[in-house]
């Protein structure tokens, strides 16, 4: 009996030593994250134009903004106003673009689209609610007066900014 008691006590002691706590800690800090959700692709619907619109055979780039703190950031998104690389172009190149709210994680963000401010090629949104917002960036360009674009690869860059208020 005595031996059994000692054995059980020893097992409990050993068990208590082996059962170590594994702490998991996490911290939620006020921050803004910009996710490149979808990379864009230009479609070539007519010989003189390129567009990221799906109707033109392109893919619209999508960026997602995650903000942890409400009313702390504004999103500023610029559509391309030139190519970063392209074949040599000798005629006028005209860029157009727009930014729209694609999806939201909170119903309260439904007002973002109506409240946006647009100037030049820049669109600004006030991120007044914490959560995720997806923005679709449409970019299109036309070359000369119905002039065919030279063959080659065309690359442009849109800028997504998250600026603390």
């Amino acid at each position: 009996m005595f031996t059994k008691t000692i054995a059980v006590s020893a097992a409990l002691l050993v068990g208590s030593v082996m059962a170590a706590d594994v702490p998991i800690t996490g911290e939620v800090m006020s921050k803004c994250s910009i996710y490149t959700d979808t990379a864009g692709v230009y479609g070539n619907p007519t010989p003189s134009t390129l567009s990221t619109s799906p109707q033109s055979g392109g893919v619209t780039p999508v960026v997602r903004y995650d903000v942890v703190l409400a009313d702390a950031y504004k999103a500023r998104i610029s559509t391309p106003d030139g190519f970063t690389s392209s074949p040599s172009l000798t005629d006028a190149v005209i860029f157009t673009g727009s930014v729209t709210v694609d999806k939201v994680s909170d119903i309260g963000m439904s007002g973002y689209e109506a409240a946006k401010v647009t100037y030049n090629n820049v669109t600004e949104y006030d991120l007044t609610i914490a959560g995720s917002t997806w923005f679709g960036i449409t970019s299109a360009m036309s070359y000369g007066v119905d002039k065919a674009l030279p063959g080659g690869t065309y690359k442009a860059i849109a800028t997504a900014e998250c600026i603390a208020k």
Binding site: K31, S33, A39, P61, Y73, A158, T159
Partner: protein
Amino acid sequence: MKLFVMILSLLVSPAGAHEMTPTYPELKWSHITNVLTAQVVLLNMRSDAEYYEITVLDEDMNNIEFATSERILNVPYLERKTIDVYIRKSDKDKATYLCSRSRLRPNQVQSTGIQSRICSKFRK
């Protein structure tokens, strides 16, 4: 069919994030006379970007002189880097934003690439 669409969307979507904390870094006195310092942490979860440019700006987004170990930092994918910036005491009131901007290599840009910039605001 569903699997095909899912695989296609994964191929088209190089999802990744650029993140900087905190929102409001504090300017503190550094170990150098008349120089203040602030610290932010940059996290690169973008597989298509590994270089980030650091800038200090005034409220009109004009550059302000500052010092840091590297203005263009190499931050490998899924890594975090702590950035210390130093500004002169005379620029304390002008300095408003501390920004990090992704720098894309031309061969990393697809048809339309996305450059990201996050600006934290100095707590005053």
